[in-house]
């Protein structure tokens, strides 16, 4: 079930109505569980078994780890949980990648292994919920939280439909207690939720999907295009992926608020970042902090010799690239992001304040200082170059596109160009979004317009809502991050 469909609106209306009629926590949790399984099963009910298996193993492991004082037993149950989750993820998402890589490597060594790949369908959202449940057992193992004894609450936590298929990857310590607390309907929270949903719809249907059209018209036939068109397509992709993914997070957060839950912030105006570290504090925050807490810090974190820190950083980002997709171009994308940290480690700035996601990007003023603006532009351009690896189907295509972006200024076929209106529309959408987000960047949701007179505010909401329908491309496209 896609968020941006009438199916989901009807589903949400039904769940919302029943949910607040129930009033008591336990039946509400049970309703969330049933609704979440219906939501997920809408794609393919067979994959529900994976969520159930993952939930049961982690529920049991959590209790066993919690109640045992013997380190060996605790470690054994943690291993069961991690192996089960990584095993599922590894099989469904990475088996073919590793099999074909092995085949290629063996082939180059003169050994022919034959086709080892399998016809595997990737279950939607598997990367998200496996990471979420792993953090639960790890936190119990670290004695940072107690295990959950209410199976319904736990199953509902793992499968919570607003964030099940594309995050945010919530921490059990943050979300599970909300399942155990009584919920009281709050008008401000629900109203804020509706605004989040509207903003998510607008970002996805108006901007991301229309940017996707530009990308789709150029990237598959990049050989026919010269530098300016490839830069346009890459810019469009940069905003497509940002709006697509952050839209999902906005809608997830909005829907959760309607049910009385508060999810973590997942995006905080990442394209206004001034360096790579700030970018990763603002982009897909739930994943960045997951890797920080469960991979980077256990590897040694930023303590120890610089050489080790650099290696740790590159490992973490390369793994993060692999998390996004089972292909070499994603790994290279992650590797490049890790590499971008190098100057910061080698030439650290003294007394530099560490920027947090909640800080206003670029400072509080309406206009950025020239140095700040320059930093932001450099950061954005660097990230845009890296996005080429993310947007391309293969590593060799990425390299070809990059080469053309910097060297080929003619020899393209104008007959193939997207019409000038599409290109102009893309630039107008990007420009409009950047200005609006910049002006509103002090708010977590830029659609916070409380100071505006209500009729005007409603007029803005109405225009935004109908813009979603008007600019919706046909056929509509699912969220990019579903594939991860």
């Amino acid at each position: 079930m896609v968020f941006t469909s009438l199916t989901f609106i009807l589903f949400l209306t039904l769940v919302f109505s029943l949910y607040w009629l129930l009033r008591r926590r336990s039946p509400q949790n049970f309703l969330i569980l049933v609704a979440s399984y219906v939501f997920y099963g809408w794609w393919d009910w067979r994959f529900l078994s994976l969520i159930v298996i993952s939930s049961v193993i982690d529920f049991t492991s959590g209790i066993m780890i919690d109640k045992s004082e013997k380190q060996g037993v605790r470690r054994a149950w943690l291993t069961v949980s991690i192996l089960a989750n990584l095993g599922m993820l590894g099989f469904f998402k990475y088996f073919n990648f590793f099999a074909s890589s092995l085949q290629t490597a063996a082939g180059s060594a003169g050994v022919h292994l034959g086709d080892m790949t399998l016809d595997i369908v990737l279950p939607v959202g598997i990367s998200f919920y496996t990471f979420q449940t792993m953090s639960y057992t790890i936190d119990i193992y670290r004695r940072q939280m107690k295990s959950e004894r209410d199976p319904i609450a736990f199953l509902a936590f793992v499968s919570f439909f607003p964030q099940l298929v594309a995050g945010p990857i919530e921490r059990a310590s943050q979300l599970l207690p909300q399942f155990m607390a009584d919920r009281k309907f709050s008008y401000p929270l629900a109203a804020a939720g509706c605004r989040e949903i509207l903003w998510g719809f607008f970002k996805k249907m108006v901007i991301a999907d229309n940017m996707g059209l530009v990308v789709q018209s150029i990237y598959p036939r990049y050989d026919d295009y010269s530098s300016p068109w490839l830069w346009l397509a890459t810019t469009a992709f940069a905003f497509q992926i940002y709006c697509d993914f952050s839209a999902y997070s906005h809608i997830a957060k909005g829907v959760s608020r309607l049910l009385g839950f508060e999810l973590m912030r997942n995006f905080a105006y990442p394209y206004f970042s001034q360096d790579i570290a700030e970018f990763w504090r603002r982009w897909h925050i739930s994943l960045s902090t997951w890797f920080r807490d469960y991979v980077f810090i256990p590897l040694g974190g930023s303590r120890g010799p610089m050489r080790v820190v650099i290696i740790n950083t590159i490992i973490v980002f390369s793994v993060s690239g692999l998390w996004h997709g089972a292909a070499w171009n994603y790994i290279i994308w992650g590797f490049l992001n890790g590499l971008a940290f190098l100057p910061m480690y080698i030439w650290p700035k003294k007394n530099k304040k560490k920027v947090r996601a909640d800080d206003i990007p670029g400072g509080p003023g309406l206009f950025p200082k020239p140095r700040v603006l320059l930093n932001m532009i450099l950061m954005y351009v660097g990230m845009q170059v890296a996005w080429v690896f993310f947007a391309s189907p293969t590593l060799s295509a990425s390299l070809d596109i990059l080469k053309r972006m910097f060297t080929v200024f003619s020899a393209d076929n104008p007959a193939l160009h997207p019409d000038s209106w599409s290109a102009l529309k893309a630039l107008l959408f990007i420009g409009g979004l950047v200005i609006f987000e910049w002006v509103q960047r002090a708010h977590e949701n830029p659609l916070t317009l409380d100071k505006i007179y209500r009729p005007l505010r409603w007029a803005i909401y109405t225009v935004m809502l109908w813009s979603c329908f008007y600019f919706l491309p046909r056929p509509d496209s699912p969220f990019i991050y579903f594939q991860f």
Binding site: Y187, A190, W466, D476
Partner: protein
């Protein structure tokens, strides 16, 4: 909660009002040459053409693949009507267009492309058709519910675009041939592309054809049998015709086509006029899709249809 519901209802009422205006325009103000208006002409033909008719029911392969004047020459006592529209409307709508108008003495030839038996092809273009003929929604059933709720936003989009077009275009604006209402002849065949070359970049070979375990095909066959039985009870004769495809398409998918034909022979409860292997033509006879034919292709196909129909009708007369 009360405050939230009150506020939400107020906001929703404003949106409902806007929606009512837009849908009102969408369903009531039409462009004369809109290609979707072909359904009005076809329904009128079905209603007003007297006597015994030869009615072709199908997707766009029918208007792009049948030359009705040839049928009229071959069967002077019967009036041909090409009621074919487009696969994207789904088989229930395509059948629904003719359902009420089939009567005693009619010969109905159902011709669906293979893909109609692989999955529900109904798509958002149905909304454009419904603008001209809202009753098409009555042909849908619960199996189309998911399509409807998944694509309802497209209906809003179409209604907004329609309102914009009304504001900026005359109602008799021209549409590009052959996708215009006046690209059809009086029988319902498309002829405006005769003599034109295949537009650049069009693929004339079928890319994917996946029947799976034929579950969906059985579902469609079941629907066809039900309608055919009803029409036969009214005194009509019903036949099925496999679509013509290019030699390249047959080379790739011939095995699947023949396996599907076997299933059709087993489960279809009315006669089939041809076999997939007989419905193959050179790729140069196709116009802009794997099923849209140029004049030469359409004539060749019609000739074979006439031959098969004569054989069937003669034998049924003898019986």
């Amino acid at each position: 909660m009360k405050r939230f519901i009150a506020t939400f209802v107020c906001f929703a009422a404003i949106q409902l009002l806007i929606m009512t205006v837009l849908l009102g325009l969408f369903f009531n103000v039409h462009f004369e040459k809109d290609p979707m208006a072909a359904i009005i002409d076809k329904k009128r033909n079905l209603k007003e053409t007297p006597g015994e008719r030869i009615i072709v029911v199908g997707d766009s392969g029918s208007p792009f693949g049948i030359v009705s004047p040839e049928i009229e020459k071959a069967f002077p006592d019967r009036h041909p009507i090409n009621a074919g529209l487009a696969a994207g409307f789904g088989h229930r709508v395509l059948i629904g267009v003719v359902d009420d108008e089939v009567h005693a003495g009619d010969v109905v030839v159902i011709c669906f492309v293979y893909e109609m038996f692989t999955r529900n092809l109904v798509n958002e273009f149905l909304f454009l058709l419904s603008s001209q003929e809202p009753s098409v929604f009555l042909s849908l059933d619960w199996r189309d519910g998911k399509f409807f709720t998944d694509n309802a936003f497209i209906l809003f989009k179409d209604s907004m675009r329609h309102a914009r077009k009304i504001a900026f275009n005359p109602l008799d604006r021209d549409y590009e041939h052959p996708y215009a209402r006046n690209s059809y002849n009086e029988y319902g065949d498309i002829y405006a592309h005769y003599g034109l070359e295949t537009p650049e970049g069009r693929s004339l070979t079928i890319k994917d054809m996946e029947f799976g375990d034929f579950d969906y095909a059985r579902d469609v066959i079941g629907d066809l049998n039900r309608f055919a039985e009803e029409w036969q009870e009214r005194g009509a004769q019903v036949f099925f015709l496999f679509p013509d495809v290019s030699e390249e398409s047959y080379a790739i998918h011939g095995e699947k086509m023949n396996a599907f034909a076997e299933l059709m022979h087993e489960e279809l409860e009315f006669p089939i006029l041809n076999e997939p292997v007989d419905a193959v033509q050179p790729e140069e006879n196709f116009y802009d899709t794997p099923y849209h034919m140029k004049e030469a292709g359409a004539r060749a196909r019609t000739a074979r249809l006439i031959e098969a129909l004569k054989e069937q009708l003669n034998s049924s007369q003898q019986n």
